[in-house]
């Protein structure tokens, strides 16, 4: 059992100028499931490989527990990379398939058997231990492969997009299995994915990276409720948050005809490089559909309705008539917003609906720096 610490850890690939990972500071608690998430190329795999010892650390340090492992060889770090790539040995029993690495390491037979039995218990494989892999289902084979990593009792599990190879259905299933398995084992785990839904559903905490720089780390709830900047706000949540930048006039953010009042302490924080603008974010689920005559209501022309049974989403356009339509973007594109609507009352394509942002569910950011206000 161990904590993991990235202390200003930096990786600059030879022949490049910008660090792939730039002074990463991250402390992972003992037993925690931490997910590194961000768009492709943001430095997730590089961070994980630095922890694994596969990538040189150009500046800063990496610690496992209190031990500085920055210059320690991968095999001496007491970590296990959990492979998606497993091949089971056909002539060995399931027990031997799980325990052979311990045998190589010279672990006494009785201890191997004990650790294998414990792992099998957790993995629900106890009754198969003396069979050959041929007799197992696909899912059970995958669990045997997990068992190989578990019996080694490493300090940390590392997983890099382990589900990317699976089809959508199996991915959702395996996701829950891995998460619950990790909770039962209590082994510190660092998990890399580009998929924010995977991150939200699996992680105790999530660390969002962009361009090699850590944007925010927190619980799924933190990330969803109080994104630290515009990037995190737009990245976390599905469908994505609607985000727009608007001028501030007379204490209001002017969203075309609609006006959203700004609190005085918000106005006080505006900085010169905000140029008297503010970035406003609101999630599709933070909008109420209201009468056309409601003050501050925003008209939305319905382009598509996505019905998901328990939910329905309108993908709509803002009208230029009300100014600044281009200022808004969302998961649906520029000048588009997404609205969650009552699935039993979906509007038709081409209709106009009016929506209002629910009080207290507005996210405000500096137009200049993109940092959260308040």
């Amino acid at each position: 059992m161990a904590t993991v610490t990235f202390d200003h850890a930096t990786r600059v690939y030879p022949g490049t100028e910008r660090p792939a990972v730039d002074a990463l500071n991250l402390h992972i608690e003992d037993g925690e499931f931490l997910v590194l998430v961000g768009p492709s190329g943001c430095g997730k795999s590089t961070s994980l490989r630095m922890l694994a010892g596969l990538e040189d650390v150009n500046a800063g340090r990496i610690l496992i527990g209190d031990r500085d492992v920055t210059d320690v060889q991968p095999k001496d770090r007491d970590i296990a990379m959990v492979f998606q790539n497993y091949a089971l040995y056909p002539h060995m029993t399931v027990a031997d398939n799980m325990g052979f690495a311990l045998k190589i390491a010279g672990t006494p037979k009785s201890e191997i058997r004990q650790r294998v039995e414990e792992a099998a218990q957790i993995l629900d494989l106890s009754q198969y231990l003396d069979r050959k892999p041929k007799a197992l289902s696909g899912g059970q084979r995958q669990r045997v492969a997990m068992g190989r990593a578990i019996v080694r009792q490493p300090q940390v599990f590392l997983m890099d997009e382990p589900l990317s190879n699976l089809d959508a259905k199996l991915r959702v299933q395996t996701r829950t299995q891995i998460a619950s398995l990790q909770r039962r084992l209590g082994v510190t785990t660092v998990y890399v994915t580009h998929d924010q839904t995977e991150a939200l559903t699996m992680g105790d905490r999530i660390a969002v990276l962009k361009d090699g720089i850590l944007q925010q780390v927190g619980t799924p709830r933190d990330m969803y409720d109080t994104p630290a900047n515009v990037f995190v706000a737009g990245f976390i949540g599905s469908p994505a948050m609607n985000i727009g930048t608007f001028p501030v006039l007379d204490g209001y953010a002017n969203l075309g005809r609609a006006r959203v009042p700004m609190a005085r302490d918000v106005l006080g924080t505006l900085e010169p490089d905000d140029k008297n603008h503010i970035t406003v974010g609101f999630r599709p689920e933070s909008l109420d559909v209201v009468e056309a005559t409601t003050p501050e209501a925003i008209p939305v022309i319905v382009n598509i309705v996505e019905e998901l049974g328990s939910d329905a989403f309108v993908y709509g356009s803002l009208t230029n008539e009300f100014g600044h339509a281009d200022a808004v973007h969302s998961g649906a594109g520029d000048a588009q917003i997404i609205v969650r609507v009552d699935p039993r009352q979906v509007p038709g394509k081409g209709e106009t609906i009016w929506v209002r942002i629910r009080a207290g569910e507005l996210h405000l950011f500096h137009a200049g720096s993109g940092e959260r206000i308040g």
Binding site: Y13, P14, G15, A52, G53, L54, E55, D56, Q73, P74, K75, F83, N85, Y86, A87, L88, Y89, P90, H91, M92, T93, D96, F100, A101, K103, I104, K132, K134, S164, N165, L166
Partner: protein
Amino acid sequence: MSPARQQLQITAASPDPALLDLPWHIPLEHWPAEMLAALPRGISRHIVRFARLSGRVIAIKEIGETVAYREYELLRQLRRLDVPSVEPVGVITGRRSPEGEPLEAVLITQHLQFSLPYRSLFSQSLRPDTATRLIDALAVLLVRLHLVGFYWGDVSLSNTLFRRDAETFAAYLVDAETGDLHERLSVGQRGYDLEVARVNIIGELMDLQAGQFLEEDVDAVAIGDALAERYADLWRALTEVESFGFGDRWRVKARIDRLNDLGFDVGELDITSDLDGTSVRIQPKVVESGHHSRRLMRLTGLDVEENQARRLLNDLDEYRAATDRQAEDESFVAHDWLTEVFEPAVRRVPRELRGKLEPAQIFHELLDHRWFMSEQQNRDVPMKEAAKSYVKHILPNRPDEEAILGLQPGDLRDTVPIPRITDEIASPDES
């Protein structure tokens, strides 16, 4: 519904239209046996099958679409970098069953002719040095991969194919799925590859022992450990900095000779002397394997493995000495050797026996055979006579290695008996 409803997308550098005739609407597992070539395979996670296509054999692997494209691209890059690896043919996506069910993408590679999966080479009667020679070959492959910046991620015997190379083996990479090309590898990446290799090799050997294909008393752990040692020796020889006094400059030439001996050419050698000029440091910067095979290729156009080339070049040298033509241009002599010695010898092999071994390997064995005969009969046995005896007594008893057959068609599960290739050096039975 007809299978034509699939919207196949074929990505290939030079697509063979015959590819379209294969039953892509059927999961690979259920392909009719008559389409398949029943060749042995290593242990794998994906479904892999061999199929006949336009007179050759291809290997088909069902694998996720993104990974398929990635592996295809990596294999192409490895070929460009001249590292021994299987040749990618293409990727096919958009497969559907007649019921409209989407099927997995496939990566297609050229079946590597005369390649021997390790499971065919190990047998109850394992000669102790077969294991050593396989490990040596894998160590050379790994060093070559690491020199070009390839991190393998899953080094194993299953992911390697072996071809005979005179008395040794040459190793080829077959599975690039977990690999990555880098500008240069870190010490950690190289170390991790070695550790993975060690554990995988030991596991694979233990598996053979569990299946009673390999004797219990073979020390699997020692064989696995040997890889790391061989690798370290070779890596050091190829990359180490060497310092010596200014007077010992012969050591530059000696280093180059040593590398040539190991089968490598030196493309670039760093030489620095310290300020007061009393000592010199040298370090090879660019080394390229294939020293002998390139030389033979230049002289004769023959494209063979490194140690086969070494053997053939030796014979060429003997020919030159025997015909007293040392003063002549080497390429003229080489041409005559090719037409007067090599080709006639290889042509003596009847067509039906040509699938047994590659021509260069046959020539190598012929040289061995002639040596045995000469020893036994205490005279210089002419090549013609040796070839006649070899074709009559030795070659017919060898298995077909161009494409080892031995499994029943249709029975391709990983646990079927593995055809065994014993590794006895052919010895003449006539006296």
